[in-house]
């Protein structure tokens, strides 16, 4: 149970610093529709957001209609979200005037301007104008996976370390404020791209942008979604469904010894818990797009309160107390202890007898959950001698906390695959491999 904000209790300091961009809290709007205009961003700041990355500026484009699609699950809309919209469609002058107005009214909030242009001259000019308008930082959009990449921008840059490094270098040459490079997840390994940004001189990176996707197909008209007349195109995937991919990319860079740059984490953040996970894996700030699109700026009240409560509970007074704290717990597979053993235990009191665990183990795992010998009892029985400790039953069980995975004292000392290969350490006998 979280601690509350007690009177007289010292609240933790949520001030966040991402490569020199300071904001009163780590919650930023990602560059996307919620950060499209000054009026919106001011409302977001009033609601509690600490920063905003302005909707990407460049040569204003023309968007299609329609442009979003989503997958729902179990009555929840938008668990995964997809879009085929491009960068800003508003005149640059309007955007810069509004940036100026926002900064004048909110001097302590972070306004980061996202940019995407082509030539060195264009980069020089747009950076100059962004700084003149009062930008606290710049974010180079090397991530958009549709529309812009065909024009040689967005993920076309993010997928080519050399171009990434060159353009980052230009930006650093012209910019006085910190520069973040927003990376695309549409690559096999994120590390070369983060390192390219570092070589270019970036002050930090933001990740992830959206993942190339087709969200669905209308099986009556045969047109994929979202439909534009009788055609569609691939778009960018985001929302809570992408969080695991984003967490992995964030952690990959955070634990890369040659990298060591601040990270602004993005991808599927819907509440304070998700934000904490990104921060534990090395993010100094977090950005949100889809959940704000679905639920509004108001979600930030709980994000701030939840984060504060969690920090007080853990005794953390500032963000640096825990940013990256999970990185030492993230290792290569070869270093995992093969002699560590868990088995599933069912709590017969909370079990509701749905037997989902049984069918899952039977058909999808190792056939070691069996009906109770007494047919009148619906609580199944785990054969612990056969259970491989895979977690599947725990994952399917609808009752939170009903199935627990309990460590077994099997008497074998720690031995990883690497230990075994290099030092001949003894591995415990395999289970469920007959």
């Amino acid at each position: 149970m979280l601690s509350p904000t007690k009177p007289g209790f010292k609240k933790p300091d949520l001030t966040s610093n991402t490569g020199g961009i300071i904001s009163p809290n780590p919650f930023w709007l990602a560059s996307a529709p919620p950060a499209n205009s000054g009026g919106q961003i001011m409302r977001a700041f009033d609601a509690g957001w600490g920063g905003a990355v302005w909707k990407t500026l460049g040569q204003p484009i023309q968007n299609v209609s329609s442009r979003f699609g989503a997958v729902g699950w179990n009555g929840r809309n938008g668990v995964g979200f997809n879009n085929i919209e491009l960068i800003t469609d508003r005149p640059l002058e309007t955007n810069f005037r509004e940036i100026y107005e926002v900064k004048k009214r909110y001097p302590n909030h972070a306004v980061i301007v996202s940019l995407m242009v082509e030539t060195r001259e264009e980069w020089k000019e747009i950076i100059q104008r962004s700084e003149d308008a009062g930008a606290d930082g710049l974010e180079l959009n090397f991530g958009c996976p549709h529309g812009m990449c065909e024009r040689g921008m967005g993920s076309a840059v993010g997928q080519e370390p050399k171009i990434n490094e060159r353009i980052t270098g230009w930006a650093k040459e012209f910019a006085k404020v910190p520069v973040l490079v927003k990376l695309t997840p549409n690559v096999g390994d994120i590390r070369p791209h983060g390192l390219a940004a570092k070589r270019g001189g970036a002050d930090g990176v933001s990740l992830i942008n959206t993942i190339k996707s087709i969200i669905g197909v209308d099986i009556d008209t045969f047109v994929p979604q979202p439909i534009v007349g009788n055609l569609s195109t691939n778009g960018g995937y985001c929302g809570v469904a992408v969080r695991p991919i984003a967490l992995h990319m964030c952690a990959s860079l955070a634990r890369e010894p040659d990298f060591r740059l601040p990270i602004s984490g993005i991808g599927g953040i819907a509440n304070w818990r998700d934000a904490v996970e990104f921060m534990l894996l090395g993010s100094s700030s977090v950005q949100v797009c889809t959940e704000v699109m679905l639920k509004g700026y108001r979600i930030v009240e709980d994000m701030i309160q939840g984060l504060e409560g969690w920090m007080m509970d853990k005794g953390f007074t500032k963000l640096d107390d825990f940013v990256g704290k999970s990185i030492p717990h993230y290792s290569e597979w070869g270093d995992l202890d093969l002699n560590y053993e868990t088995v599933a235990k069912i709590n017969p009191v909370s079990c509701i007898g749905c037997q989902l665990c049984m069918v899952a183990c039977d058909d999808g795992a190792h056939q070691c959950i069996h009906p109770n010998a007494d047919a009148a009892i619906r609580v199944p029985v785990v054969d612990e001698s056969e259970c491989v400790g895979c977690n599947l039953c725990q994952i399917v069980c609808p009752v939170q906390g009903c199935i627990t995975m309990e460590p077994v004292a099997n008497g074998f000392p720690t031995a990883s695959w690497n230990d075994h290969v290099e030092h001949g350490k003894v591995l415990r006998p395999k289970k469920g491999a007959h």
Binding site: L2, G8, R273, G306, G309
Partner: protein, 434 residues
């Protein structure tokens, strides 16, 4: 504040609407749509931000959830149990429009607030002393809500309560299957932790303390004295033992012991919510035959239909269009003589009959006692205190709220009116107009 006796007849009652477990609360919370401009908020007289507190339960921020509730309604734990949610927030949940069961808002509110009270979480601090002082007459929900809010603003407050115990009808009037007196008292003790709420019990105003003395001592007064004793029926035999006012009997049952062991047939006369409670309370205490005697039809009853449905389920009988004309008996009540009424509520000649009864509770309303502040020269309307915006009476230093203004509503209305009067007083104090 005096403590409650251990032995109270009300303790035999179990919760009619049981509390949610943590698991149930999370499942239910995740069902809420987090509506914008939510109709449930509009249906709550204290305008609790319902979607926000529910979302916080879903993210595990239970402390933040309770804070959101108490921010608007400092008796949020009592109200969670006793509000007629069927005709308030739950009745207006958008799921009703979809034909899907509405969100159990009251139960979720109880989950969050009960957790906060049990954990001893505190959310509010008294403001810096302003030197202004308010006297509150009556220690019921209206005055408690006003006093708490005034303390948050830093004003000094003294509650004058004629009884020995605080909470008004919320402590001694609510049906115990909704809220028992001990839970009501726990919540009051919790809200008192803000500090500086001075309480003088056993002081009946203006008998024990004159209006002049109060006006000399305080910068403003708040009238929260509620309603008076049960209205009586001037009938032959009305003074027999066994003929009692319902609210008076309920108070004895809640704060002490009533002996119903010899009651074979009890009547409750009336058709409002006090009558609905009284019949169910008699059933719950084990009285075999309980009948409601009402002068109108079932459809015309002012008591809530959902309460009457439960009463019927519990075995209560009803005599519609029936009026008692005399109570009969020698040492105590033995029978009640009644007459049938026609559509226009006129007695039907020759329709008189007698029903055996050894207890008759009269639940035809409570007296309006506004006259007690006649000495202040404030305007009254049939015994109710007349107020303008912010609960200001025609005397600029005197404010009022709750049942003494409305003539009898719900606890949640009294809380809203007390809180809003405090806000109005604070504004006038700060503008130097009070």
């Amino acid at each position: 504040m005096s403590v409650l006796p251990e032995n109270r007849s009300e303790t035999v009652f179990k919760d009619f609407k049981p509390a949610l477990t943590a698991k149930q609360a999370i499942v239910e919370a995740n069902r809420c749509l987090y509506c914008a401009d939510a109709p449930c908020i509009k249906a709550c007289p204290t305008s609790i931000n319902i979607p926000e507190f529910i979302r916080k339960i879903g993210t595990g921020n239970v402390a933040g959830s309770a804070k959101t509730i108490f921010e608007s309604n400092v008796l949020g734990s009592s109200c969670a149990r006793i509000c007629p949610v069927e005709v308030l927030c739950v009745g207006d949940c958008v799921y009703n429009e979809m034909g899907v069961p509405p969100i159990e808002i009251g139960k979720l509110q109880r989950y969050a607030t009960d957790t906060a009270i049990a954990e001893g979480w505190e959310f509010f601090e008294a403001g810096p002393d302003t030197g202004k002082s308010v006297g509150l007459i009556g220690g019921g929900p209206a005055s408690l809500a006003a006093a708490h809010r005034l303390r948050r603003f830093g004003h000094r407050v003294t509650i004058y309560e004629s009884r020995q115990i605080l909470g008004g009808l919320n402590t001694y009037g609510i049906a115990p299957y909704k809220l028992r007196a001990d839970a009501a008292v726990d919540e009051i003790e919790w809200l008192m932790k803000i500090g500086g709420i001075e309480v003088k019990t056993g002081v009946s105003v203006p008998v024990d303390l004159s209006w002049d003395a109060l006006l000399a001592k305080h910068d403003a007064l708040f009238m929260g004295f509620g309603l008076g004793p049960d209205s009586a029926m001037a009938l032959p035999g009305g003074d027999l033992a066994g003929v009692e006012g319902a609210v008076e009997w309920i108070e004895r049952m809640k704060l002490g012991l009533v002996d119903v062991s010899s009651i074979r047939h009890a009547l409750v006369i009336g058709g409002g919510n006090t009558a609905m409670d009284a019949v169910r309370e008699l059933c719950g205490l084990g009285v075999q035959n309980v009948s409601l005697v009402y002068r109108g039809t079932e459809a015309a009853m002012s008591g809530y239909a959902h309460e009457w449905t439960e009463a019927k389920n519990e075995g209560v009988a009803a005599l519609w269009q029936t009026l008692p004309v005399a109570f009969e008996g020698t040492s105590g009540l033995c029978a009640t003589r009644c007459v049938r009424l026609d559509e226009a509520k006129r007695p039907i000649a020759g329709s008189e009959f007698t029903i055996p009864s050894d207890l008759a509770l009269i639940a035809i309303g409570q007296a309006k006692i506004g006259d007690l502040c006649a000495g202040l020269g404030i305007a009254l309307d049939t015994g109710k205190v007349v107020v303008g915006p912010g609960g200001q009476t025609t005397h600029p230093k005197v404010f009022a709220g709750g049942d003494c203004v409305s003539g009898g509503q719900e606890v949640v209305n009294a809380v809203a009116e007390g809180r809003d009067a405090a806000i109005a007083m604070d504004a006038l104090f700060r503008e130097g107009r009070l």
